[in-house]
Symmetry: C2
Subunit: 233 residues, 2 copies
Amino acid sequence: MSGTLYGVGLGPGDPDLITRKAARLIEGAGVIAYPALAGGESLARAIAAGLIPANAHEIVMDVPMTLAREPAQAAYDTGAAQIAQALEQGRDVVCLCEGDPFFYGSFMYLYARLKDRFSVEVVPGVTSLTACAALAGMPLVARNERLTVLPGPLPEDELALRIEGAESVAILKVGRHLPKLRAVIDRLGLLDRATYVERATLAQQRVCPLAEAPDNAPYFSMILLTKGADPWL
Amino acid sequence: MSGTLYGVGLGPGDPDLITRKAARLIEGAGVIAYPALAGGESLARAIAAGLIPANAHEIVMDVPMTLAREPAQAAYDTGAAQIAQALEQGRDVVCLCEGDPFFYGSFMYLYARLKDRFSVEVVPGVTSLTACAALAGMPLVARNERLTVLPGPLPEDELALRIEGAESVAILKVGRHLPKLRAVIDRLGLLDRATYVERATLAQQRVCPLAEAPDNAPYFSMILLTKGADPWL
């Protein structure tokens, strides 16, 4: 009988924000899989480090840092094949995912490759979205308010259109797009409603008004913008 | 010295999806606060029940089930006053919140009332959004895709406009609005991309194609619709 693949959300970075279910699965794992930047560190492994059994077999997926499609696809093909081999031997595999597996998580590429052949369970995690909101003290949405999540690389016109259509907006993957994003938000007259959050819940976390954010933001940064969340005072 | 107010997200319902931080805070709590439907049960308390110390003092906020503004405001005014009294006595207060405190959570009303007078820490939780996606096996967003979260009571034209503007859409607070929502999604030609999820992670959970969902859905139900999440195969 084949094993089960668990796609386990680890939350935004603080190991304390791992769920009890995820912690139990990791502590009992015989085989652990996780992505790493090619040749470099794995944030997912770092978050879970205190829970990984010393004798667990580890499958490392080296994911190239490139926008090109083929090299990344090949990395997930290779990772899926290694995971499939363990599952076929009847071993369960716990795949570590930063944040939540289905919210901009690379686990979805493994899921697409393996879900029709094996039993797969996805364990949801705390997303960077609500972790940043908590840290910034910015309620996102209440009652009949709308929330839109946008990636920073989108074109300016598209960003402006979507920002206008929601009471709250979170922009992920800010990175080098920060000056463009700040300009769009300023043009909409919303700069004083926008907060910049960097590496939420990690030791180097930072929160400041978007107006004061650095031009060259790291990949793990977010802009939160809210026109809503009426406090019902 | 005043105590600290902790707004603690409990996740979508399965007590196993409580984070380790939330569990520790609840287990050590001297004062617990939570909302309950007027005269009825508290889902928040039920989720955390196994962790609440037997001798904890409990502050119950009876929230009326009405769309009118004033009775709910009065309930949060009363709750905030009771919490403030405990904080002024130097006691910490752990406020239990279904899901995440700042994602359609009533904690934001207490936060607005107390944040300027007391130390408040918000502990993010797993949202119903990613819990439903995990249960339905529906990756939400990848790479440069957009996600929009909409409440079911919005008007049809607004729903249609926002559904067209994102690769993935989650519609919360479905309830009696289900027939309207299904009609809008069908008119957009997207009915076969939509899944209905009811009471995710609770014992009575249910997942089915939206086409087969009941006309009269409970409040805790969601529609997930995805045109994106390209699996990069």
